[in-house]
């Protein structure tokens, strides 16, 4: 003390010396998770609160949904959905499980599959629309090797599985929920597509349409 520096205004001193407490990372993930969990909770009662037309609209969706499931064969779809969901969880479990080839370039990812599969997967990179390609890997679904492409949507990973479905007609993407994950299933150009993530249902359906624009 006693050192007479240039007098400094009192105001910036508190600003400089008092601690700015930054949120711990654990809190950050906790808040994010609880916000998402609450959003899922709120969605259900909201459906019941909608009256009249909205309810009718919801019913129409439900019918369309059921028809879509019925056409695909309910058991078959459920079995595949279970496999897809497991594959997604597995891919996120351990560092390094996600990608065999990590690249944001579709011209690197697509050729990587050559010689590893008996079909050429369709690789899109709708990065501009918020789904950036981050890599690919081989996976095993429905009793056969399949192509898995990985995308990042904000902080979330989307897994897209593809394998051949010869002599089948194209179908519109259908979304379903399993254990908090959202899955979308469709067929296009003789390939079977399954996308899975923990993002919003509508976002995943949008992703599906970005992979195969109609």
């Amino acid at each position: 003390m006693g050192v007479k520096n240039e007098p400094v205004a009192e105001e910036p001193l508190i600003a400089r010396d008092a601690t700015y407490y930054r949120a711990p990372d654990a809190l950050r993930s906790r808040v994010r998770a609880s916000v998402r969990a609450r959003a899922r909770e709120q969605l259900r009662p909201m459906l019941w609160r909608w009256g009249g037309m909205a309810a009718a609209f919801a019913a129409t969706i439900a019918v369309t949904w059921n028809v879509a499931l019925f056409e695909a064969g309910n058991d078959e779809v459920n079995r595949l959905a279970r496999e897809v969901e497991s594959a997604h969880v597995r891919s996120l479990m351990v560092e390094g499980h996600l990608n065999d080839v990590a690249s944001t370039d579709q011209h690197t990812v697509k050729p990587w599959f050559e010689g590893k599969l008996d079909f050429a997967p369709h690789v899109e990179d709708p990065a501009a629309a918020g789904f950036a390609l981050i890599g690919g890997r081989l996976d095993y679904l429905d009793g056969r090797p399949v192509a898995a492409m990985t995308y990042r949507h904000r902080k979330h990973v989307v897994n897209l599985f593809e394998w051949p479905a010869p002599n089948t007609a194209d179908t519109e993407p259908v979304a379903m929920t399993r254990k908090g994950y959202v899955l979308a299933h469709w067929r296009h150009g003789g390939l079977e597509y399954w996308a899975v993530s923990d993002i919003e249902r509508d976002d995943l359906l949008q992703f599906a349409r970005l992979v195969n624009p109609r």
Partner: protein, 179 residues
């Protein structure tokens, strides 16, 4: 964009501001975390009422309310001293006694270290502490502070100047005790 992703984009970036305010009001890491968590759930519930205003003051209003509800329940003794005239009169601190820059008190304050400032600020009654935190650390405008704390702008300014005064005295006393 869905409601949740809009919320994540507009409100979640202010998590640090929320935590800082809650931490300074509750004066405890764990309590601040609980309060912030609760405040974000409330914020989500009332998100539709934000109507395109500034997200940070809007969120901080909710954080502050959540803090006060929490204090009322768990540490009501923290809430005394909110009366604007009270604490100053009690401690005999002269209002309007301006302190110029070459005043020894200011020099004391200038050389005060972090710990001292933090301790002194923590011990300030919450009504003064929160306006100082919002103004000095969070850099909010008088108007924003007024709307967050639900008090007139004039009260914000008087609490600020009284709070600074009290802080100065407290730091000075601490330094004298330490030497």
């Amino acid at each position: 964009m869905t409601r949740v992703s809009r919320f994540e984009q507009l409100v979640l970036p202010h998590l640090d501001a929320a935590y800082n305010l809650a931490r300074w009001i509750t004066r405890n890491d764990h309590d601040a975390e609980d309060v912030v968590q609760e405040a974000f759930l409330r914020a989500m519930k009332y998100f539709d009422g934000m109507k395109g205003g500034e997200a940070r003051p809007w969120l901080l209003t909710i954080v502050r309310n959540t803090c006060y509800t929490w204090l009322e329940k768990n540490r009501p003794s923290d809430l005394v001293g909110l009366d604007d005239a009270g604490p100053l009169a009690a401690e005999g601190i002269g209002v309007g006694q301006s302190v110029s820059d070459d005043n020894p008190e200011v020099i004391l304050l200038q050389s005060a270290n972090r710990k001292l400032v933090n301790q002194a600020l923590e011990e300030l009654p919450v009504g003064f502490r929160e306006v100082i935190v919002m103004r000095e650390i969070e850099d909010l405008s008088y108007k924003e502070i007024a709307s967050i704390a639900g008090i007139p702008t004039g009260t914000v300014m008087s609490r600020l100047s009284r709070g600074r005064e009290m802080l100065k005295r407290s730091i000075e006393t601490r330094m004298r005790r330490a030497s």
